[in-house]
Symmetry: C2
Subunit: 417 residues, 2 copies
């Protein structure tokens, strides 16, 4: 079974807003064995909408529309589908009562406009919307299915789960998508690609998507299959091969973020951590505290932007800053040791660098970042030269610092410490 | 003139990746007076691509494709357009030499595959690609224009600027899009909408897009016009009306971020700032230091997640934490005053709250956040009850804290301090 996803709304044709519902819908449809072959975005224009709907029904078994079910004159998805199918819209009195009831609950009278939302296509099933006023619609026509869903993500996602998924499951497709989510750091995308290509080439039934962000690369091997056991076996073999090829750069085979992996390691070792950041300005602490429950291992951190505060908060000597510069191996080491001493954390982590655009020199260019890590056995320090603008350098440095903590525990476990 | 944008690539039909080139292309096309009426995403499938291209050429004056110009067998945009137009692909020897030369510069021989990238449609103009190997193509057919661009954003954006924009300008459309970018905080979206609707209804030639993120709402009024002076006059009037309706909640009429506005205020007042964060875990410091040059006013901050560090770093008494709880007005005040004293900053800013999912009680539920602001004249404190999950609460609290600084300077200027 294949599908086309249509996002409706003139705001989606501006430079300011993008259709993200289709990512959720694709993931859910794939799980149900439905392949997405095309996506379209169209404005609040009845003629254009009609044309896009007709074109979609010419090629796809399933057409899923999001948006254009609101109460205003701009909301034309119902009418355009009625035109396309040559069917009438009929008021559904039960839905009308539900909408009126919803307004009553919030102590307001239903505006006249909202009555439009009770108009259902002849032959369609109305889909309940517990999170809003617009019902969805499900209509089967000549062996094809058209589904209309509301645009707001919270409404669309609840309606899909409650009303659409069970109906699609009843259609009973055994073919499903099987997928893994691998995360890699410390290697450029081209290097990752080179290392894994020969492995996935051995499995022509498998696709691999490679996504890259500053400091992190995601690998998504995917197989369409009717046989869950066979698909999972192939994927497990591939993941094993990827793990060998990528070595310690592979930090998750189950889609965890780097801060989740670091948090898990800290918890397993009953260790705590504290941070002293300069150029990342709090981003490392913010990432660590993204994780629910991080208060069990993250004690706190300082963002010491000024040199005075570097000294005051971590005890780094002003003479060292003067002699070596705030961005130096010596200061990174002193910051890491100082924050560890100051907080009595198991691990002290420090970042000092030049994020740009200003502040670079020939000897210390923009992108130079020193990361330090102190524990009871001593202090490691590493210098990086990251590419890109201020935002990219800060992102690279943030992931680089978290990754240094991950590798610290990995090497300790391997006895390479 | 109207346009359809087609993004080509099977990875764009997965749950992992979205087409963002169309946002850049829409902004640039709008500036040139071209209206985007439809967008499509299609996989690396020659038949589907042909169908989408044909459908686009049926309705749009300009068709802009991104992606599918690479050297591999998956890259089929050239071939599909050749099918659609019934034209041949011809090898362009000059382009072939350019590609070979590019590989030579990097010390490698050109793989045979890359020769495909020198194939140009009969009658097409090749578009130079200074950032990669794939040239683009510009072809005029029966009064319509089809443009093929490479998928990687750095290549696409440079090629658009150097090769496509000048050609579109020569077509000489005087109709242009005029737009403003307003930013609002401290009001829910429905309230913003209600306050501005009657104003923009007076200008039926103007569209307004409203986007909302946790803690911030953006308003984009837009007018298509051939008359720059008239469009700007109308937009200026509308912005004046919006400013009256939104009052102090409007923090920028030129698309600035809240941290940029706060940074400007601090600089104008020759003031410095330091932060003491608990639930936001460094996000406020990270936002402040997003701005290049922020080291002139941001001294530093502490992320005091543990109660011990709250006391150690800001001098808040353990008795107060014990008696009132770490999330309390008293602790917010003590944190703000303590970090100010500790750093000698002009302004001390503090955030303490319950981000969730754990840690809530009936008296202090998840989403409760206290924000404190201390300066030489005293300390203000405000309690908020933010909705949503951990991520949303942390985002709301971050923007709420930055907004408190902005209002502090605004009230001082108005003598409301």
């Amino acid at each position: 079974m294949n599908a086309e996803i249509i996002a409706v709304g003139s705001e989606l044709l501006t430079p300011f807003r993008i259709d993200t519902n289709s990512l959720f819908l694709t993931r859910e449809l794939n799980k149900l064995g439905v392949d997405v072959i095309r996506k379209a975005v169209v404005g609040d224009d009845r003629k254009e909408l009609r044309r896009v709907l007709q074109q979609a029904m010419d090629v796809a078994d399933l057409v899923v529309c999001s948006g254009g079910l609101g109460p205003t004159e701009d909301d034309l998805t119902r009418e355009a589908l009625a035109d396309t199918l040559g069917r009438r819209l009929v008021r559904d009195d039960e839905i009308l009562r539900t909408i009126q009831e919803r307004f009553r609950r919030y102590g307001r009278a239903m505006p006249e406009n909202n009555a439009r939302q009770a108009m259902i296509l002849e032959g369609a099933q109305a889909l309940r919307n517990p999170r809003g006023t617009a019902p969805g619609q499900w209509i089967e026509v000549k062996g094809r299915v058209v589904v209309l869903l509301p645009g707001p993500p919270v409404e669309l996602e609840a309606m899909f789960a409650n009303e659409v998924r069970p109906r699609l499951e009843k259609l009973g497709h055994r073919r499903r998508l099987y997928v893994r989510d691998l995360r890699v750091t410390g290697l450029p995308e081209s290097e990752v690609e080179q290392r894994v290509t020969s492995i996935y080439r051995q499995h022509p039934e498998c696709d691999v998507t490679i996504l890259s962000a500053p400091g992190e690369i995601q690998l998504h091997p995917r197989i369409w299959s009717e046989d869950a056991a066979a698909a999972n076996k192939t994927l497990d073999e591939m993941v094993k091969g990827f793990a060998l090829a990528l070595g310690e750069n592979l930090f998750s085979t189950s889609g965890e973020s780097i801060e989740e992996v670091v948090g898990r390691e800290l918890q397993q070792h009953r260790a705590t951590i504290a941070t002293a950041e300069s150029c990342t300005g709090g981003m490392v602490a913010a990432r660590l505290t993204n994780v629910p429950g991080s208060s069990t291992y993250f004690l706190g951190g300082v963002v010491c932007y000024s040199n005075d505060l570097k000294s005051a908060w971590t005890g780094v000597s002003p003479d060292v800053i003067e002699a070596k510069g705030a961005v130096s191996a010596e200061v990174a080491v002193a910051l890491a040791e100082g924050i560890r001493r100051n907080t009595r954390a198991t691990v002290g982590l420090s970042i000092t660098g030049i994020a740009g655009p200003g502040g670079g020199t020939p000897e210390k260019p923009v992108g130079l970042v020193h990361i330090g890590l102190a524990d009871e056995r001593g202090t490691k320090e590493r210098a990086f030269q990251f590419p890109g603008d201020r935002e990219r350098v800060r992102s690279f440095a943030t992931i680089g610092a978290l990754d240094m903590v991950r590798r610290h525990f990995l090497y300790a476990a391997l006895g390479k410490g």
